[in-house]
């Protein structure tokens, strides 16, 4: 059954996932164990396959969708028993930019890895990001921009975090087609990733370092 559930996630079979999760819970597997023992490793495998060129964005999306149907069942149970997520990540496409596929992929993979994701959507003003960081006590901020004209909003967002006095408490990661390591360094971000899978690694690193 564990293997079946693992396979359902990896192969992106959302329809099969729900019933298999129910079965696991019925057999006495704890919700947290389902996430840490089966679901997250499955998503990690998908991420590894993506990085090695064995699978592609469609498979990532399908796996994330299967993951979501699993989490729809698990999440309330975790909340009930007071289990804390691995970390809290505020995810947003910056002010002026409407692109969201990459951001959505990052959000989905982060959830799959056990993070609580606060997805603010697209065209998000710096102030809103600061607010979310404060309110949710997030440890990570993940920003996306796809246009050279909206890249500066990443800088202003980091500045807003500084002004609000919360910059020290978060790690800020940036990504998107025009983003480079050099740009990330220039604006004072803590890291940059070329793809969604790398974003999860950065988030994990951030949480591990702060704990």
């Amino acid at each position: 059954m564990k293997e079946e559930l693992h396979q359902a996630i990896v192969s992106g079979d959302a329809a099969a996932t729900g019933p298999l999760v129910e079965k696991a819970l019925a057999e006495g597997v704890k919700p947290l164990e389902v996430v840490q023992g089966i679901l997250s490793p499955a998503m990690d495998e998908v991420g590894r396959r993506f990085e090695s060129g064995d699978c592609f964005v469609p498979e990532l999306l399908l796996a994330a969708r299967a993951m979501k149907s699993a989490m729809a069942i698990i999440q309330p149970l975790l909340a009930e028993s007071g289990v804390e997520p691995l970390g809290r990540v505020v995810v947003a496409t910056v002010n002026g930019d409407l692109h969201d596929i990459g951001k959505n992929l990052v959000a989905a993979l982060l959830e799959g890895a056990g993070f609580e994701v606060i997805d603010l959507g697209v065209d998000v003003l710096p102030g809103k990001i600061v607010e979310a960081v404060k309110e949710k006590e997030a440890q990570v901020v993940a920003l996306s921009a796809l246009l050279t004209t909206t890249m500066p909003s990443m800088r202003t967002t980091i500045e807003a975090l500084e002004e609000a006095g919360v910059r020290e408490g978060v790690k800020v990661f940036v990504g998107g087609a025009p983003i480079t390591q050099r740009f990330a360094e220039e604006i004072g971000a803590d890291g940059f990733s070329e793809n969604a899978v790398g974003a999860v690694a950065l988030a994990r690193g951030a949480v591990a370092a702060s704990s």
Partner: protein, 353 residues
């Protein structure tokens, strides 16, 4: 076309009433406003192109618009996520949908192309590449419904500018299947040096100067980037200097001046350039077919029920009107000319806006 007007447009428009429901003032206004605004918009291109020519000595780089059937479905009909799910759940239907689009997209491309066939048709390649789709999906859906159209356009003497946004490096070998000189290949985030190695002997290349550099780099960095590309890609001819992607208003004007001045100064071929024109002229008439790696274009594809370029066929109209005593062909021509206006409207809504 009927589907686009009756199903698609009402779904995406806030003003258009779904077919069968009572019409509204706003619905009627939307068509007149949309149609006339569109004509104003396209009309402005003529003036602007003339200005560019007379004031800047610059030719418009492309004429006509084209997108791959698979990209149209993702971009305008199902959304990228929607299409990903469709490919998972109903790939056969997706293929049929791509095939249905083919003759119409071809028609738009051919009827909007440069009448002199001097500049290529603009082909916006959006997200039909690995990793956004899988290699299998490219092979089963994207390429087979695209390649015949490119071949057909070439058979008509039109080059196509493959404006490959993002990185299409995975597919260069497949593009080699196209006839020599039948396309101009534009590089955005792909590796222009690798691309040159693979395609440089077959197609003219363009692009490869990063937009981030043009917006945020120093003039010296821009100069160095242009020099590297010219040195490695342009020596044997067949390279058009261009930014990697569409330039927005944050592009540094100083950097653009550096790019153009440097290219004009450094990018001069020492021998006469007239011979490099032969690649483009190969497209004229039958020689297009002769120069290539074959390809049957649209041969063998079934004709759509209603021919592309009109909405309602003459056969339907003629029975509604009194008997024509004069030359029916003239009346038919007028009918089809005005039908074409309505056809242009909806297909341009799909392709250009």
């Amino acid at each position: 076309t009927g589907f686009l007007y009756n199903v698609w447009l009402p779904r995406v428009s806030r003003e258009v009433v779904p077919i069968g429901e009572p019409s509204t003032y706003r619905n009627n206004l939307s068509f007149v406003k949309g149609g006339m605004a569109m004509m104003e918009y396209f009309g402005a291109f003529g003036t602007q192109n003339a200005l560019m020519r007379s004031e800047s000595g610059t030719v418009s780089a492309i004429a006509g618009i084209f997108k791959a059937p698979f990209d149209i479905i993702a971009d305008k009909l199902r959304g990228y996520i929607g299409l990903t799910m469709d490919m998972h759940e109903q790939p056969d239907k997706v293929l049929k949908a791509c095939e249905a689009l083919m003759p119409h997209l071809l028609h738009v491309a051919l009827t909007t192309a440069d009448p002199d066939k001097k500049v290529p048709i603009g082909f916006w390649m959006h997200r039909g590449c690995v990793p956004f789709i899988t290699p299998d999906q490219f092979a089963s859906h994207y390429w087979p419904t695209l390649k015949p159209l490119i071949e057909e356009m070439w058979a008509h003497g039109n080059q196509v500018l493959f404006y490959a946004e993002g990185d299409w490096g995975y597919h260069l070998d497949q593009f080699k299947e196209l006839a020599e000189g039948s396309i101009v290949y534009h590089v955005d985030k792909g590796d222009i040096f690798e691309t040159h190695k693979k395609l440089g002997d077959r197609f003219c290349l363009s692009g490869g100067i990063p937009n981030v550099l043009l917006s945020y780099g120093t003039p010296q960095e821009v100069r160095e980037s242009c020099k590297k590309v010219i040195d490695e890609v342009a020596q044997d001819g067949g390279y058009i200097m261009d930014a990697s992607a569409i330039m927005q208003n944050d592009t540094s004007i100083e950097n653009m001046k550096v790019l153009t001045d440097f290219t004009r100064e450094y990018g001069v071929y020492s021998s006469g350039s007239s011979s490099s024109g032969s690649q483009a002229t190969k497209g004229e008439g039958e020689s297009g077919k002769a120069s290539g790696a074959g390809g049957n274009g649209m041969a063998g594809y079934p004709e759509p029920r209603i021919k592309p370029g009109i909405c309602r066929p003459w056969e339907e109209k003629v029975v509604e009107i009194p008997e024509i005593r004069g030359d029916e062909a003239i009346v038919r021509q007028q009918w089809e000319n005005t039908e074409a206006l309505a056809n242009v409207y909806i297909w341009q809504c799909l392709l250009s806006f």
